[in-house]
């Protein structure tokens, strides 16, 4: 039997080696920057956000001013052509970025926050909390997301924040279910048990061990949901509960353009392209972020 108690007095050498370190954030940034797709995605999203913010400056015409140039194909004067009321489509798409991006990002953010909270509670605490969470998720899932959104928008009016909230609540079940199922497996992992044996609180375990491990699946779902949210906003608008004409909005532009698909296909193309660019940009950005956060993808 040797002496009891701490006797760790080893010489500490190589101070510089130990302290000359890169932070976790620096490692993630370096890996993100190396990923071309991620940078391209970031560029697309930034460009779109920039467009939305400076729409006044960038748009060549007033987006709701009508002219006699009805349904003109793209030309030097009207790069994206004009619509049935003679409005400049480029200007409408540029202004549309405001509503559409706000709804797309805002609604997904709301869905993410609600879904993550609900999913974390159910998955981590289990038992009765989980039974309650599952009941809530099932209740919401038994209605189409759009119907839920309609009810909320009808109750609270159709301002932009309400539309975001309505779509967010309509879609949160996807996030809640994903988070719940991943947390359910993660919390049983040995490293969570190890953390608990070190005296960690539930909060610490959630922040350090569980949330980082659900991020990859969440990021993918977020990027895929943005496009969905933009289209849901259009559907709400179509039903008279979202942005109302003449306010330009991408989903709405596509919707109206459909009627003239044969005569003026550009009316669908350009707003459609804007939506595709958003989803693609978000996706590339998300994939890059996911890989940069995953130690195994790094070199």
């Amino acid at each position: 039997m040797s002496q009891v108690g701490p006797t760790l007095s080893l010489p500490v050498v190589d101070q510089t080696e130990v302290h000359a370190r890169t932070t976790e954030f620096q490692i993630i940034r370096r890996n993100f920057v190396k990923n071309r797709g991620a940078i391209a995605g970031l560029a697309i999203i930034l460009a779109l956000v920039f467009t939305a913010i400076f729409a006044d400056v960038l748009a060549p015409y007033d987006p709701i001013e009508q002219s006699r140039a009805f349904m003109e194909p793209p030309s030097a004067a009207h790069l994206f052509g004009t619509d049935a009321l003679g409005r400049d489509l480029l200007s409408r798409v540029i202004y549309g970025a405001r509503v559409s991006l706000a709804v797309g990002l805002g609604a997904v953010l709301i869905a993410l926050l609600i879904g993550m909270f609900v999913g974390l509670m159910g998955g981590y605490f289990g038992g009765r909390v989980d039974a309650f969470v599952v009941m809530v998720i099932d209740t919401f899932m038994s209605f189409p997301g759009l119907l839920v959104a309609m009810v909320i928008a009808a109750m609270l009016g159709s301002s932009l924040p309400v539309v975001m909230l309505a779509i967010g609540i309509g879609e949160f079940t996807l996030f809640a279910r994903l988070v719940r199922s991943v947390v359910y497996t993660e919390r049983e992992r040995d490293f969570v048990l190890a953390s608990r044996s070190l005296g960690a609180s539930s909060f610490h375990i959630l922040i350090t061990h569980i949330i980082p491990n659900i991020l990859p699946s969440l990021i993918v779902l977020v990027t895929l949901s943005i496009g969905n949210a933009i289209l849901s906003a259009a559907a709400l608008g179509f039903l008279g509960l979202g942005a109302q004409p003449p306010t330009p909005e991408w989903g709405n532009l596509v919707n109206i353009g459909q009627e003239y698909m044969r005569e003026a296909p550009w009316l669908v193309w350009f707003p459609g392209l804007a939506i595709v660019a958003t989803v693609l940009g978000a996706n590339m950005l998300g994939d890059g972020l996911r890989d940069a956060l995953d130690p195994k993808h790094r070199r």
Partner: protein, 349 residues
Amino acid sequence: MNNEHSSHPLRTHPTKPIISVRNLKKYFPVKKGLLIKRVTGSIKAVDDVSFDVQAGETLGVVGESGCGKSTLGRTLLRLYEPTGGEILIDGIDLASLKPQELVKQRKSMQMIFQDPYASINPRLTVASIIAEPLRIHRGLSGTETRDRVAELMRLVELNPKFLNRYPHEFSGGQRQRIGIARALALNPKVVICDEPISALDVSIQAQVINLLGELQQRLGLTYVFISHDLSMVRHISTRIAVMYLGRIVEIADRKSLFAAPRHPYSQALLSAVCVPDPKRSNSNEIILEGDPPNPARPPSGCRFNTRCPFAFERCLREEPELTPRADGHLAACHLERTTLEDFKGRFSE
């Protein structure tokens, strides 16, 4: 309470033990029902286990799969809530501590896990993994933490240069060293080793075992070493406890247990140790018949009576207690002693 302890029949050592477990129980409820779950029974994974461990010694815990070894280890640290009993570590009963007090006491006892691939978070750097206990219990600045992490890495013979690397860049043996460094970060007195080497290559096992031995010497650690590898347990343990179906059937000094086990189950278990010599066949091996009974419905009387070749009428009625024997063993058997020859006689009949 202390007086009661010093006079306890299980005390085989004159000094005060660092771990003193009394009547520890861990039952897992068995639930049935689709919507409304009813508790229909319980699996008695650990059932009325008592033992002492002296400071600086290693108590090996052996037994076949499902006998409750790992549950015992986890219940000792209150990773599972005990169903009953006391866990006294340095005189403090962990089983009855409130959550906040338990967190403080966790410093004094740590665990090394079986699977080094599952027990460390793949998304954290080695530095973050080893620093986790230091962050939880605070008190160190950033620089101090890094110094301490580097010190711990050197202690477990890992190069501190690698502290910004991620677990997947390490081998199984190195990962287990990371786990050991994490367990030692708070200067624990007691370390529970839950099969710390069974997931490793045989070539690495010896290294890790030797490291554990060295650390014990250097830091005065007390180990509870859970394993099914009898030769490893024999190598590292001071004393050994043999478990069967949630109970300890025998505790004795390593040498004495291997030389002359008292309990028929210990005898059968220890006869299964492989002899690394092709010329000597393992002719003394005792093959028990049948499987261990269902721990949800253990047999009445002695739990081993369904497989014990010596079982007689009393074994079916009365559960034997762990009682001290002449040679210092504690055994839970109604018979004073059985020998290998007895076994042979029984089986040839």
